[in-house]
Each structure stands twice: as structure tokens, then as C-alpha cells.
């Protein structure tokens, strides 16, 4: 949250340090010098300094406007989605777990037309589960790489731990949601992002073309799917994205379907 260009942490820091200075001044003016170290006012002042520095450390610089961030995160996705659709893309994108140890998650988008076989970079057209489709790196690939390199991200293979890791990434590392709730019903896993930062861009994209979301998932939907695919080593597809503005805080619900493990078959 930002107030007049200052984050709430920074405001809290200024307030506590100012309060500490005021208390110390009152202590100096009202107490005798030999009782300084036993003055309750000085202790309150020390509390304020310790708390203020704590808030200062929690503050992250270089905060950009949430609306701008949401627009930037959606840049190019409508054009890419329409291109994929024009090339025969349909249905939902499937995130495939890494084929080898140390490999990357790939995204399979079913297409109606047959085309060029698999390219050298791992992308191109291929068969998967009997249907032809385009295989490409998901939009979140660079983010995952950055998180692993810069934030020492670990993706556990146990379901509950993995969900905790996803919450950490969304709430603490990327700070895109205030709180993340996870529900599971059978093979469907739903993530409720409370106060989702990139909501405006996401809403405008779904309003313009609802089918694009599941055909060509944006960076954050793609990021969560990639983390699940890599952690649990299973296929996953984005089911639907819904928004609920009726509650106290707006909630963005993203539903995924866990699929059975299967590898891509390269055509002859």
C-alpha cells in the first residue's frame, strides 16, 4: 500500500523515529541525569527505535504503481493469444513437467492444424495425448529462473509444502497478493488471491476475450502452474479465472486441474 508516494512501512518508520526522538527529549527535560537509564520514557523511546528500524528493513524500495504493473504484466498477451487462436489454437494450455532432471516446464497448446515438427529449442508443433499442438516455453519461465537465482526458490515435491512455497512467492517475494488461500476438490486446485495487485489488467483482458486466459495464461497464472508442474511433476491446466468484488477485499480465484503424468510424444 502506498500513501502519497510513501509505503506504509516507511511512514511507520518515520512516525516511530519521530516519536522516539520526542520521548527522549521529554525524558531529558523532565528526568534528572542520574535517572536517565531507568526512565520509562527512555525505554519507550528505545522500543520505538527498535520497531522503527524493523519497519524500515521490511520496506522495499522501487515500488511501482499497481495499475502500471498490471498493464505491463498483460503486455502482448492479447496479440499472442489471437495469433495462437488464428493458428488453430483451442481449448486450454497444458503445462508439462520437465522431461529431464534440471529441465524446464513447457506449455502445450492444442491446435487444429498439423505443422512443422519439434524445433531444436524444444518448441514447435508436436503430438501430446493424441492431439497436435504447439509446444513453447510458458510466459513465466523467466520469472521462475529469476526466483531460483535471486531468491533461492525451492520447489518441494510434497503437495502441502509446495502450496506453502507458492503462498510465500505470491505474498512475500512478489507481493502480488495480501493473502493466498488454497482449496482443493479432487483434481481441481483453486487459489484465492486476496487483493490481487494485477487485478485491473487481468480483468480487462478477460473482458476483452475470456477464452484467452486459459488458452494463453498470463505471467502469474502461468507462474503458479509452472511451480505446481515442476514441484509435483504432473501435468496441469488452467481451468478458469474468476473475480469476486463483493467481499471486504476483492478476490481473484484461479482454478487449475491436475492431470496425470504423461510425456510429450515427438512425431515422426
Amino acid at each position: 500500500m502506498k500513501v502519497n508516494g510513501l509505503s506504509s512501512y516507511r511512514l511507520g518508520f518515520y512516525f516511530l523515529i519521530g516519536f522516539a526522538a520526542l520521548l527522549a527529549l521529554i525524558a531529558v527535560l523532565t528526568e534528572e541525569p542520574r535517572w536517565y537509564l531507568e526512565s520509562p520514557l527512555l525505554m519507550l523511546s528505545a522500543s520505538s527505535v527498535i520497531g522503527g528500524i524493523f519497519l524500515f528493513a521490511l520496506d522495499e524500495n522501487k515500488v511501482i504503481d499497481a495499475r502500471l504493473a498490471s498493464r505491463l504484466s498483460m503486455q502482448g498477451i492479447p496479440a499472442l493469444g489471437h495469433t495462437i487462436r488464428d493458428l488453430g489454437g483451442h481449448g486450454t494450455a497444458i503445462f508439462l513437467p520437465p522431461a529431464t532432471e534440471g529441465g524446464a516446464v513447457m506449455q502445450f497448446i492444442p491446435t487444429r492444424f498439423a505443422g512443422e515438427p519439434l524445433q531444436r529449442d524444444g518448441g514447435g508443433l508436436t503430438y501430446h495425448q493424441g492431439s497436435m499442438g504447439a509446444l513453447s516455453s510458458p510466459l513465466a519461465s523467466p520469472i521462475i529462473e529469476d526466483l531460483k537465482r535471486d531468491n533461492d526458490l525451492i520447489l518441494p515435491s510434497e503437495y502441502n509444502l509446495l502450496m506453502r512455497a507458492i503462498c510465500e512467492v505470491c505474498e512475500d517475494v512478489l507481493s502480488i497478493a495480501n493473502r493466498v488461500e488454497i482449496r482443493r476438490e479432487g483434481d481441481v486446485v483453486t487459489f484465492d488471491l486476496h487483493n490481487y495487485l494485477l487485478r485491473p489488467g487481468c480483468a480487462s483482458l478477460r473482458e476483452a476475450s475470456p477464452g484467452l486466459c486459459v488458452l494463453c495464461p498470463c505471467s502469474i497464472c502461468s507462474l503458479i502452474a509452472c511451480m505446481i508442474a515442476e514441484g509435483l511433476k504432473c501435468e496441469i491446466s488452467l481451468d478458469k479465472v474468476t473475480q469476486d468484488d463483493t467481499g471486504q477485499t476483492p478476490i481473484m480465484s484461479i482454478s487449475y486441474t491436475l492431470k496425470r503424468d504423461a510425456r510429450v510424444q515427438v512425431p515422426d
Partner: protein, 77 residues
């Protein structure tokens, strides 16, 4: 802050108010809070800043403890 205010109140109630003791208790609370909020699977940017603050606070805590030990040695000596 709640922890520090509570400790401040308790110390004053027990008539044992002394800044060194209070800082020790307050910083112990800080380290407990830091341990509780420390992420397991990732390292957000703010954790690096908190690590630096924790190092400085640990040194400060060490200074307070050393000062108290020296006081005791002088007293017993």
C-alpha cells in the same frame, strides 16, 4: 511493538526498570519475531535487509551483555 510495550509495563511494575535489561528483552522478542516470519522456501528482498538489521542488533545485544558482565565482575571484584 506489543511485546516491547508489554515488557516495558512489566519492568516498570516490578520497579526494576533499567534500559540495558529492557533492550535485552526487547531484542529477544525481535529475534523471536524474525524466526517466526522467516520464509522457508524462498528469500524475499526484505529478508536480506532484516538479516543486516539482525546482525547489528546481535552485536548491540552482545555489547549490552558484555557491559553487564563487566559490571558484575567489578561488583564482585
Amino acid at each position: 511493538m506489543v511485546w516491547m510495550l508489554t515488557m516495558n509495563g512489566l519492568i516498570n511494575l516490578s520497579y526494576g526498570s533499567e534500559v540495558g535489561f529492557f533492550i535485552t528483552v526487547a531484542l529477544a522478542g525481535f529475534f523471536i519475531v524474525l524466526y517466526m516470519i522467516y520464509p522457508v522456501f524462498s528469500r524475499p528482498r526484505y529478508i536480506r535487509s532484516l538479516n543486516h538489521v539482525a546482525i547489528v542488533y546481535a552485536l548491540f545485544l552482545g555489547l549490552v551483555v558484555v557491559h553487564r558482565v563487566l559490571e558484575l565482575i567489578t561488583y564482585w571484584g
